[in-house]
Amino acid sequence: MLKRLLASREILLLGAIMALLALIATRFPGFVAPSNLAGVFNDTAPLILLAIGQMIVILTRCIDLSVAANLALTGMVVAMINVAAPGMPIGVILIVAILLGTLLGMVNGLLVWKLDIPPIVVTLGTMTIFRGIIFLISDGKWVNSHEMSAAFKALPRTELLGLPVLSWIAIAAVLIFALVMRRTTLGRAFYAVGGSPHSATYTGINVGRTQFWAFTISGALAGLTGYLWVSRYAVAYVDIAGGFELDVVAACVIGGVSIAGGIGSVAGALLGALFLGVIKNALPVVDISPFWQLAISGSAIIIAVAVNARANREKGRIILKSAEHAA
């Protein structure tokens, strides 16, 4: 049991994060103060939300490159709604954001399911289209802080039991999707489809429809994050979260999600995102140039993939009788 626990990717990653924090603490003890760690978590919350959705998509042997563009488009739409109708309750804004994100995710899912287009092509296309639509509806203009209503900007910052709502939303998403992945038939279907699409087909699972749901969930989370992002930074423009989809994929990969599908967990996505979050926040503190940050994040990705590839390598057939028990 202990052996299994140690071999688990999630535990390994947790250990790596702890080691990283310990290392930082030797040079800058203030970084590991609870209040600062809470700040790091809050800062990483959007990445966690998107990584959960991306994890599910990757699990089904797909990829969603449009998450950041979906976030930006949804963010722009709700910001413009807020400018046009400042009195609209935040609850309605939240629902609009989630619904719009879901719809955009469904577009990806339908293209993959019904037209059988490779996911990387579909989402590369929709990524560009979503960004283009932002430009069209905003005329390329920014929605600035002073145009947004106070209530619109307040929600993610409101503190609840010592943590901002943004953090609580990330925590809730982790718990809900951990439950979905482990305890629902849909969650099981995601694993089955990624593990072996052929087997899944023969057991009566509709592979395309399952992938559609994965994109839909990813879209819903991106939409939710869209509102949170725009309201937290109090600005919306065409290029917000530009390139963020790569951070999201990186978080998944570091979190042990197999790009080949079928392997991954919510805990992994969470820890992968936190690992990147700690690096991003810690390096400036310990006075390392931002260029090194990029190099270190990149190295972390390659190391994580190498470690996972080693763990997943086929053991080979056991032909020798003597090896049977040793294995």
């Binding site: 482990r182 629902t184 038939t185 849909l186 072996s196 052929h198 023969y202 699972i205 056991i318």
Partner: protein, 512 residues
């Protein structure tokens, strides 16, 4: 060992005024764990002659091809080139000796041009060692014209049909100056006109003095183009000689006339009421007019050559391919099966041929594999009930005597036999009425085969209706109550009782 070579060559010379064989196998043996694939076999290929290699599936034909082309190393015996023993450590060694094989699915590169495919690896070089394209295309053209092929060497391979691809493969064989050409079921995917063209090509290769090994299931083509035959059965040589000296009946007898070496379970046949009725299944390109009935407790064999459309029909019946039409009645009730989920709901399950790819999901634990098709029963409103899943899994793994440390173990860490038990438990847990087993014992050793046969008999005894797709005659004969023979997408015969003999099976399957 050199003695063999001399005696073999001597024997050949004494028997007839034949030229010396270019390539020969002398007492070659090849073993795999649990199986003796080839046992002391001899084979001789003469210049300017076509030798047909005949045998059932599993007779050792593919092993011979792989041994001749350097993919397998023989465990005993020798490969002789021009009478001298040679070792082919790699496929390149065999190619260097002038041996080339054209497979059922030719190994070529879709995105390269015809000329590149022909000269890949030995392209003519110009200055600075760069490929001389003009020269390469000129040479390709020359070879293609030589074999009567009207193919532009500049065209990409993917734009060619199957017949022309074969011609390119043959052109490639000629470009490396092959002396021995092995054709492994070259006509399997060709139309009648294309087959005629292939025959002409074989004639022209003969005229050039090449030795040809022609592997085919189809007797008409063997009699049409072969000069000699070699028959294998269960990895042993059972006869060879000149085509002129034998009849079809002789060859069939050699192929199948076996001692019943495998023991099949002696089962009590309790055949019950009709459970499945299939009427008029049609597919635009794969099969037509398939209809039959199936009773409880019955094992219905589906025999045919590879490519006869058996698996394709089964996939349609199971709702995987949706372009086919047909009526399915289960227990007399009309059942609309539009997806595998519908089929499972209606009590039909399908255990596909390739267990590695289509059977168990190795990254998931045992219990998740077993309950996957039964999730509707073990879940409530979309939420899993793990206790129920473990109960169901335990029930069926115990019945199958599956031993594992925990039901939470990943299937990938189990032995092959146990993985198979997981797959069977998975299907039994759906409580099916009809179970379709597609090549259930393909590629497994004799001991495991017997276990699968036992199990099949037990399923039938419990009142399940079993459809067994198999290309192995002993298995079909040993297990089936009734056999449907398919040929070229249609039912060629339905055999039972005294009509069910190795000869009738082969005749109907090959269309003699």
């Amino acid at each position: 060992m050199l003695m063999h070579a001399e005696t073999a060559a001597h024997a050949a010379r004494a028997a007839a005024p034949d030229p010396a064989p270019i390539l020969a196998l002398a007492k070659v043996t090849k073993e795999f764990p649990g199986v003796k694939a080839l046992s002391d076999v001899d084979l001789r290929l003469y210049p300017g002659q076509v030798t047909a290699l005949i045998g059932e599936n599993g007779a050792g034909k593919s092993t011979v091809v792989k041994t001749l082309t350097g993919i397998y190393q023989p465990d005993g015996g020798e490969i002789l080139v021009d009478g001298a023993p040679r070792r082919f450590a790699t496929a390149q060694d065999a190619a260097a000796a002038g041996i080339t094989a054209i497979h059922q699915e030719t190994v070529l590169f879709d995105e390269l041009s015809v000329a590149e495919n022909i000269f890949l690896g030995h392209a003519p070089r110009g200055r600075f060692g760069l490929i001389d394209w003009a020269e390469m295309e000129r040479c390709a053209e020359e070879i293609l014209v030589g074999i009567g092929a009207q193919i532009d060497p500049k065209v990409r391979l993917r734009d060619l049909g199957i017949a022309n691809r074969h011609l390119v493969a043959i052109a490639r064989a000629l470009s490396i100056d092959a002396r021995v050409v092995i054709m492994d079921e070259p006509t399997a995917a060709l139309s009648h006109k294309e087959i005629e063209e292939l025959y002409e090509l074989v004639e022209s290769l003969k005229a050039k003095g090449k030795a040809i090994l022609f592997i085919s299931h189809k007797f008409d083509e063997i009699f049409r183009i072969a000069d000699r035959f070699t028959v294998f059965r269960d990895g042993q040589l059972v006869g060879d000689g000149r085509m002129a000296d034998v009849t079809e009946a002789d060859l069939v007898k050699m192929m199948v006339g076996r001692d019943v070496s495998q023991i099949f379970p002696n089962r009590e046949r309790r055949i019950g009421e009709e459970v499945l009725q299939v009427v008029g299944y049609d597919h635009p390109t794969e099969f037509a007019d398939i209809g039959f009935t199936l009773r409880r407790g019955e094992i219905l064999g589906f025999y045919g050559l590879v490519g006869a459309g058996r698996s394709e029909f089964m996939q349609a019946l199971f709702g995987i391919t949706k372009t086919s039409k047909g009526i399915t009645k289960i227990d007399g009730r009309l059942s609309a099966i539009r997806s595998p989920a519908d089929a499972i709901e209606n009590g039909i399950v399908y255990v596909p041929e390739d267990r590695g790819r289509q059977g168990a999901i190795t990254d998931l634990p045992i219990f998740q594999n077993v309950t996957l098709p039964s999730l509707k029963r073990t879940s409530k409103n979309g939420f899993l009930r793990l206790a129920e899943e473990f109960r169901l899994t335990r029930e069926y793994t115990t019945r199958l005597d599956l031993r594992a440390a925990s039901l939470d173990t990943n299937v990938g860490s189990l032995s092959g036999g146990n993985q198979q038990k997981v797959v069977i438990a998975k299907w039994l847990a759906t409580q099916p009425k009809v179970i379709i087993l597609d090549e259930p014992t393909k590629g497994i050793d004799i001991g495991s085969k017997a276990a699968v046969h036992e199990f099949m008999a037990e399923l039938a005894a419990q009142g399940l209706a079993v459809i067994m797709v198999s290309s192995e005659i002993p298995e079909i004969l040993g297990m089936s109550d009734r056999v449907i023979v398919m040929r070229e997408g249609r039912i060629a015969a339905e055999l039972a009782g005294e009509d069910l003999t190795p000869e009738t099976l082969v005749r109907h399957a090959a269309g003699i």
